[in-house]
Structures are given as C-alpha cells and as structure tokens.
C-alpha cells in the first residue's frame, strides 16, 4: 500500500473521532518544589513566590517518563502516522497559575486532514489540551498542530 493511501486511511479514521477525548491527562497540584525546579530550569530566579511560569501548565500533567531506554520517544497519534514535525502552538490563558492550584486536563482531537507537501502527502493533525482548576473553571487551553510526513517504519 502506498504512503499516500496509508496516510489517507489514517486521516479518515481520525476524522471519525474529531471532538473525541483522546486522553485524560490526569490531575496535579502546583507545588512549590516543582515550581522552583521549573523556574531554575528556565534560568529564572528560583523563588516560587515570584510566580508560576505560564507554560508550566503543559508539564504538570505530563505522561510518566520511560527511562528504561536511551531512545527517542515516538510522538505519533496512532500506529500508522510517522516522521512528525511540530506545526505550531497556540495557547490561551484565562488566568495565571498560582501555587496550590489543582489542575486537571484532557486532550481533544480537533481536526485531521491530508495535504499536499513539497515532497509528498502530509497528514495534519490538530489537538487541544484543556486545563481546568478544582472548580472545573478553565485555566488554559493549548492547541497543537503536528505534521506527519510519512508512516511508521
């Protein structure tokens, strides 16, 4: 089967799931130790009282790390799409994160389409991570575009 056919079928399957929740991202507390570590890593003064960096929201609910192998992680959304590149990010913040916030998140499939690239067909997949506080009020949402330039080996 050709790459274009495989990409097309994969996009077709994803299109049937538009609006679906792909993943429950879980829940986490914005604690001073994590904020200190994140601020240090960004090169900021480490005092967590100086504020929670805006983009920390995207890392509070990260998946468990697999440290058993020294290899690049797969970032494909399914078993077919491969060779991804980041096509851009758009984040909206309703309010700044605060120490003590309890953040929950979910990942939603927003769109999937097949496009013609310079070197062949591309699958463009847009997802949105939605983050809410303990009262289920929106804190932030991050829309990501991933471009898959081929299929998995």
């Amino acid at each position: 089967m050709t790459t274009e056919k495989l990409l097309s079928e994969s996009v077709g399957r994803l299109r049937n799931r538009i609006g679906a929740r792909l993943k429950d991202l879980g829940s986490s507390v914005v604690d001073p130790v994590s904020v200190r570590r994140y601020r240090e890593a960004m090169g900021l003064e480490s005092n967590p009282e100086l504020g929670v960096p805006a983009m920390m929201v995207a890392h509070l609910l990260r998946a468990d790390a697999d440290v058993s192998k020294d290899q690049r992680p797969s970032e494909s959304i399914d078993d077919v799409l491969g060779n991804p590149v980041n096509g851009g990010t758009e984040i909206h913040f309703k309010r700044p994160l605060k120490l003590g916030d309890v953040v929950s998140g979910e990942l939603i499939l927003v769109d999937a389409s097949l496009k013609a690239g310079k070197s062949g067909p591309l699958a463009v997949v847009i997802t949105e991570a939605r983050y809410v506080d303990a009262q289920a009020r929106e804190i932030a949402k991050a829309r990501s575009t991933m471009i898959y330039r081929g299929v998995r080996a």
């Binding site: 994590s34 570590r37 994140y38 240090e40 890593a41 960004m42 090169g43 900021l44 504020g51 960096p53 805006a54 983009m55 920390m56 995207a58 890392h59 990260r62 998946a63 790390a65 697999d66 440290v67 020294d70 290899q71 690049r72 992680p73 980041n86 096509g87 851009g88 990010t89 758009e90 984040i91 909206h92 913040f93 309703k94 309010r95 700044p96």
Partner: protein, 147 residues
Amino acid sequence: MMLAGLQVAELAKIEPGQLLRTYRRPQVTMTQLAFYCAAAGVVDPIHYDREFARAYGFDDAVVNGSLRVAWMAQVLHELALPHGWLTRLACSHNGVMLVGQTPVIEVRYQSHIAGDDGTHADLLIQTLVDGKVCDQGSGSVILFPRF
C-alpha cells in the same frame, strides 16, 4: 527575567511594528538542558546527550522547543506585570537551536485597545540566534485588568 512592564502611556506613543523590548538570554548550557528535561519530564536524549544528538544528524544537543516557547511566554507575561498576565501566545519554530547558542528575544508592538476588563495589547515576538529567526509568533497580554 525582570523586564520592565508595559505602560499604557508607552503604548500610546509607538507605531505598529516598533521594537518594544529586547531580552538577551545567557548562553544555553548542557546543565540547563538537563535541568529542563528533568523538570518537564522530557526523555528524548537529543536534548541531553551530545553524541546521541550528533548520531541523529544535529551538530550538538538540541534546545527543547517547549523551553523556547516557555521563554517567549515568560517574556510576554513579565511585560504585563505587576497586575496583568499573558492571555495568548501563538508561535512556531523556524529552525533548530543548539546548546551553546545565545538566544535574543525581541518584542514588537502591534496594537492595543481599552476594554471593559482592562487594556489589551497585541504583540509580535521572535527569538533570534546569530541574527536568524528561530521562533516567531504573536501574543496578547492584559494590562491593568479590572475585575
């Protein structure tokens, strides 16, 4: 980063496209990348293993795209302090950034409007390395919000 916050009077005097702030980051170190990967839970060795990165065709360890976005978000957020905050950031990466490089973040004015809830400013942001644009995007901040 400690950038001077934006003032409404400042916005009233400038033209769209005019440079508002320049922030020169220190050189990115391997220690910083290791700390960032640990803090953010990144397990891709191209960011913390130089030989691994070279085996994948990079000239050196690769600065995380999410760290570059975090820097841009922080710069815009600090421009809105002490009362406001970053409300939107849209950005994309134009090129690879490597350990040892010294990113420069530039913020330009786009527009602003006084709303019922405060003053909203739209800004353009880009990160340059050796004069080349690595990241670019736009952001919005709310200044002096009214609740």
